[in-house]
């Protein structure tokens, strides 16, 4: 009987749940016994009501008009509309840099690369975008494709170095474009960072917060393990002081208390930069502790083998210890960086108009009273998209570097 049932020619004799893979899966995972069946049904009913109410709200109640009407504000804050072309240029160049480094980053042309290069086309489908916006997105896509094409012509050995140059050049050009150069009435008048806002500012704060705090954090972690007491003590004091205070207090300190400590007339950098410094210093202390965890996971034998070969302390740190320590803590560091990205919303409390700050201004406008749900929902979606991208990228990085595989 059983042997007959096991042969594929007798499929029709099997119970219906064994004939179809999906039904089999349902039976094993959702209806394996009476209690689980009841749980499944209760959950289904609950999900049904949640989904129904959510969809009813999203498609009938919600007044989405607030988003297109304030879209520019959400994206770039009070960055002057006449200078918006500079932001588009920044985006074109970003597309080009992604294209020109992609083969190097992904290893080879993969599905992800194709997906990334089609993002501008998906964005073009957003209904309320003007033709101008769509055209700009199209140019971005063309720029990525061109970058990708150019990379194909670079010799493979030179791609790594070329990518570093491209990225550094991009960062310089980006800051020049955003900040502006020359006279007030020139072709690229300066735009004070105070006017930068919305998604633009949130991403900039997160990006520079991460890239600046990382090397500082690694240095502090190494300092904490240093043989030199002065460096060790200073690192410990710094780390423990910063970890002992909330980020918001550092932000307030940077905004309102810094003046008290400095001599009269001392030139203060602008508020956005001060917020960035506070975020960087805060994040560096946490990075340091995470990296220290990685350093402590390196067996003593690795240090000894490096010493026995005659490597100096510096050479063994750079070649042996840090590569292993950082690889081990990639998941933790990415988690920390995602949380840093979300923590940048705290700058809204010190009067800087990042995504959350912009949301609060929109809601303060009498025209858009009572649209909290819509605005905050969109802000949440934007944060989710970028946070999820970071965590996805980190998982791919882990797989490429073989984290956990020795």
């Amino acid at each position: 009987m059983t042997t007959a049932a096991e042969t594929s020619s007798d499929r029709s004799v099997l119970p219906i749940t064994e004939r179809y893979r999906l039904l089999g899966w349902l039976r094993r995972n959702l209806f394996s016994d009476a209690f689980n069946s009841i749980l499944t049904l209760v959950a289904l009913v609950f999900l049904f009501f949640v989904a129904r109410n959510l969809l009813r709200w999203a498609f009938a109640t919600a007044e989405w008009g607030v988003i297109p009407a304030n879209f520019n504000l959400i994206m770039r804050g009070q960055y002057p509309a006449t200078e918006a072309w500079r932001l588009w240029l920044v985006i074109y160049l970003l597309g080009a840099v992604v294209g020109v480094t992609w083969r190097l980053i992904s290893g080879q042309f993969s599905g992800v690369a194709r997906l990334l290069l089609t993002i501008p086309f998906f964005l073009m489908l957003i209904p309320f975008f003007s033709m101008g916006t769509r055209l700009n997105l199209f140019i971005t896509a063309v720029a990525s494709a061109a970058g990708y094409y150019i990379e194909g012509y670079l010799p493979i050995q030179r791609r790594g170095r070329a990518a570093v140059y491209f990225i550094l050049a991009y960062l310089v050009i980006m800051l020049l474009l955003l900040r502006g150069v020359g006279a007030e009435d020139g072709p690229m008048p300066p735009v004070s960072p105070i006017l930068w806002g919305g998604l633009l500012l949130s991403l900039l704060l997160a990006f520079f917060g991460i890239t600046l705090s990382f090397p500082l954090g690694v240095a502090l972690a190494l300092g904490r393990q240093s043989q030199l007491p002065a460096i060790r003590v200073m690192s410990v004091i710094y780390i423990e002081f910063i970890r002992g205070v909330p980020l918001i207090s550092l932000l307030f300190m940077g905004q309102v208390m810094l003046q008290l400590f400095l001599p009269d007339g001392f030139p203060l950098v602008d508020r956005v930069l001060r917020a960035l410094v506070a975020i960087t210093l805060f994040s560096a202390a946490y990075t340091a502790e995470n990296v220290r965890g990685g350093l402590q996971s390196i067996p003593r034998g690795q240090y000894e083998a490096a010493q026995a070969l005659g490597l100096s302390a510096y050479q063994s740190t750079i070649n042996i210890i840090l590569p292993q320590a950082l690889r081990a803590v990639i998941p933790v560091l990415v988690g920390q960086f995602i949380s840093l990205f979300k923590d940048t919303t705290l700058v809204a409390l010190v009067g800087i108009f990042d995504l959350l700050g912009i949301a609060r201004t929109i809601l303060a406008n009498p025209d858009w009273l009572g649209t909290h749900q819509e605005v905050y929902a969109i802000i949440a979606v934007l944060f989710w998209i970028f946070s999820y991208s970071m965590s996805y990228a980190s998982r791919r990085l882990e797989r490429r570097l073989g984290v956990g595989v020795r």
Binding site: G301, Q302, E304, A305, Q307, A308, L309, L311, Q315, Q324
Partner: protein
Amino acid sequence: MSENETEGEIIICQDVCKWFGDFQALKDCSLRVKAQEVVVIIGPSGSGKSTFIRCINRLEEHQTGEIVVDGIPLTRDVRNIEQIRSETGMVFQQFNLFPHLTVLENITLAPIQVRKMKKEEAQDTAMSLLNRVGIPEQADKHPGQLSGGQQQRVAIARSLAMSPKIMLFDEPTSALDPEMIKEVLDVMQELAESGMTMLVVTHEMGFAREVADRIVFMDAGEIVEVGTPEHFFTNAQHDRTKLFLSQIL
């Protein structure tokens, strides 16, 4: 320096003492090793064998006494320490290969970084060393993909890549499965026959008897007896030596 070379003694240890806290791990250990000599150190566990050879390249710091390696006195001076280390290869019980680098990168790292050798040259040397230890086909793998015996042979090749004058072996076969011990011992024997100065801490009595020029017996931090293998296995003088040999043979 010239004085030592005329005597042909490449390692000189004089009254070396080492304490871990209150515990004295080495008590007035003196030993002179000639160039091209193979010296095997045996003794019960905890007798200070490993500590002794680890003092020779400063993985442990001795507190009193004098160590001179190839005419360079081992002092606190970092330049002396680094010079001695780059002339002294060491093979560990746990291999201590660098897991994030391939076999080839493990071997070429120190020649490139310390000796400032060109990458291509270092790779050629590494490949000929891998041929010598019998595993050229593993060059592009990571250490984690190799068996214990293969890893230990890579570790030997990694040390040899620095063209050391002296090789220290700290229980190189103790972490290996029995069937892999021979492949490592074969490589070590070939190395000894090629004229390398070797200091070997081991429990492999067959290797000691066959390859060693001299055997050192240590117990409780002291060098109890030094002699040729023949002397050792047929005519040991001290009771402690006899007791140890009776327990293991």
